[in-house]
Amino acid sequence: MSREQEYVLRTVEERGVRLIRLWFTDVLGQLKSVAISPAELDAVFEEGVQFDGTAIDGFSRVHESDVLARPDATTFELLPWAKADEPSGRMFCNIENLDGTAFEGDPRQILQRNLQIARGQGYTFFAAPEAEFFYFDSGDAADSRPVPLDRASYFDLTTSDVSSDLRKTTIHMLEAMGIPVEYSFHEDSPSQHEIDLRYTEALDMADNIMTLRLVVKKIAMDRGCYATFMPKPLNGVQGSGMHTHLSLFEGENNVFHDPDVMYGLSTTGRQFTAGVLHHAREITAVTNQLVNSYKRFAEKSEAPPFVAWARNNRSALVRVPVRKVGKPGSARIEYRGLDGTTNPYLAFSLILAAGLRGINDGYDLPPETNVNLFELTDHERRQVGVEPLPRSLHEALDVMEESKLARETLGEHVFEWFLRNKRAEWAEYQAQVTPFELDRYLSTW
């Protein structure tokens, strides 16, 4: 038994913890949980918890048998929303096959494997996301159309108080779980909010994003409304993304930093950025995994549909922030394509792999794009060498299927499963008659 495990056992005993939730994430990025009682914890540390892989979407395969959830003791946190007389805690798990090998469908271990590759080259990968989401009034459960809180009442002051109070409670809860929040504010659209997390190493951050999504939704639900990370819930207003700041460290040194070159972005930083841009189209099906994700890109605002980079150009996929003098540690790039529905373990794996490919193969970074790409025609964009991101989930899947990088990074199992699952989602969508079609065609034709 490791010291970390002993620490958890002792804490569970001292704090009278009644329930321990073992968390893991399926391929699509949905949080799953198995609860155990404290009496079982000792044995679970030794042997893991066995469960039926086929019972869980994303892990299922026809011939698949049982798998084991093995809790990571370093992630033990008491849940701040548990009742005072019923303390409960949670740990993230790795999923293993019964023979002790890593389960191929476990996104958390896919990220661990890719971080290990980076580690082999001496790199630690840091991420800091800006998560956007909407609060909506629950209203009539049968009516699934979203009603923003800000419009739900005549009394704007009162209603905006509700959502800022929700956000405040959410932040306190995140901080209590060791997830520091850097900024938070009301976003452009009605009832839209943003919470920016302070950077951590990518595995912790992927865990943090899973926790964040749960906490945001839970707090809203407790107050009788709901929160959604759906990329584009409302027509005509900006959708929700998850711009993410990325940096690579070698020990103490930020390898993106070089004070003597243009914009302070080192050769390594330029190559990493080039890698991310070069492979961006191949990884979009994962970073933006819903049919709906592509409607966010169609709005011409903070969702950049063009594979380009700039210091200050909201139409470009990657931003290289202008930095304060004397803060070499803060050198980073901002990947603006992601949305909050992505599986963060898989998305970080792919972005990292793309960046490392850029470094290892010495990719050249194309010139900065300073024109507003929204204003150019497709032809003009081609002339400046800028490609669009896939315009639909369908197109993104086609590009992904040809990607050796995506296949290697995710592993055969998840790569194949993801494509199959998402092709089915697209097919189902294609078979739907939408309100748009009814409005437009029904009486006219």
Partner: protein, 225 residues
């Protein structure tokens, strides 16, 4: 009598002689693996670890002992006068130390002292600093009487800082002393954990851990200032 673990192997001749003459049973080990494979069924009753010309190896073994890799009752460190400074902030790695070369009577006294204590009920070790309390036996921490919910690494970091109030530590020192030698990842890990700790201490008490610009971090203020 159960044997003492001696590091390194072969044991320095003067140590072997003193132990034999004092009637102590002992076994020398070249490294952690050997110490583990030769460990008696209920653990080593104690260890004498010689920090010779390469004290890092000795400290690494001490750390493994402290992390529970192998079971050792008490640790006596033998250290040369030239390496005394390296004991600074490593006090938790040993139970007692003795200058090397030693006087056989002193060594004998220290061994008896150490092993007389072993087996006695240990007093719960407690750190108290202003609003912060830590019980090192139960791994529990409180702030203003309310329990603090910490992860293992947050707890270890807070413990280390709170054991040395007023002392400024570089991030490298914290990394090697709290995370250990083998930890991969830079000093930025320390920043991440300090920020996590502050958020759990809450706004009111976040200032217990101070950032010392371009140096590192410190906890509280020294009682000697």
């Amino acid at each position: 009598m159960d044997p003492l673990l001696i590091f390194p192997s072969p044991a320095p001749p003067e140590l072997a002689q003193a132990l034999d003459m004092g009637g102590w049973a002992w076994k020398a080990a070249t490294d952690l693996d050997q110490a583990r494979s030769e460990q008696p069924a209920d653990g080593w009753v104690g260890a004498i670890i010689v920090a010779g010309t390469e004290p890092d190896d000795a400290f690494r073994l001490c750390r493994s002992i402290r992390s529970g890799d192998i079971h050792v009752g008490s640790v006596l460190l033998l250290v040369g006068g030239g390496h005394l400074a390296s004991l600074d902030f490593r006090e938790d790695l040993f139970d007692d130390f003795c200058l090397h070369p030693f006087h056989p009577i002193e060594l004998e006294a220290r061994l008896k002292h150490l092993f007389r204590r072993t087996g006695q009920a240990e007093r719960a070790e407690v750190i108290e600093y202003g609003p912060l309390g830590m019980n090192l036996e139960t791994y529990q921490a409180v702030i203003d009487g309310k329990p603090l919910d910490l992860t293992y690494m947050e707890y270890e970091l807070l413990k280390f800082l709170a054991q040395h109030p007023g002392k400024v530590f570089t991030r490298e020192t914290l990394l090697s002393r709290v995370w250990g030698y083998d930890y991969f990842g830079g000093a930025r890990t320390v920043d991440v954990h300090v920020r996590r700790l502050r958020s759990k201490l809450g706004e009111e008490h976040a200032g217990l851990i101070q950032t010392v610009r371009s140096v590192g971090y410190s906890f509280g203020t020294s009682r000697w200032v």
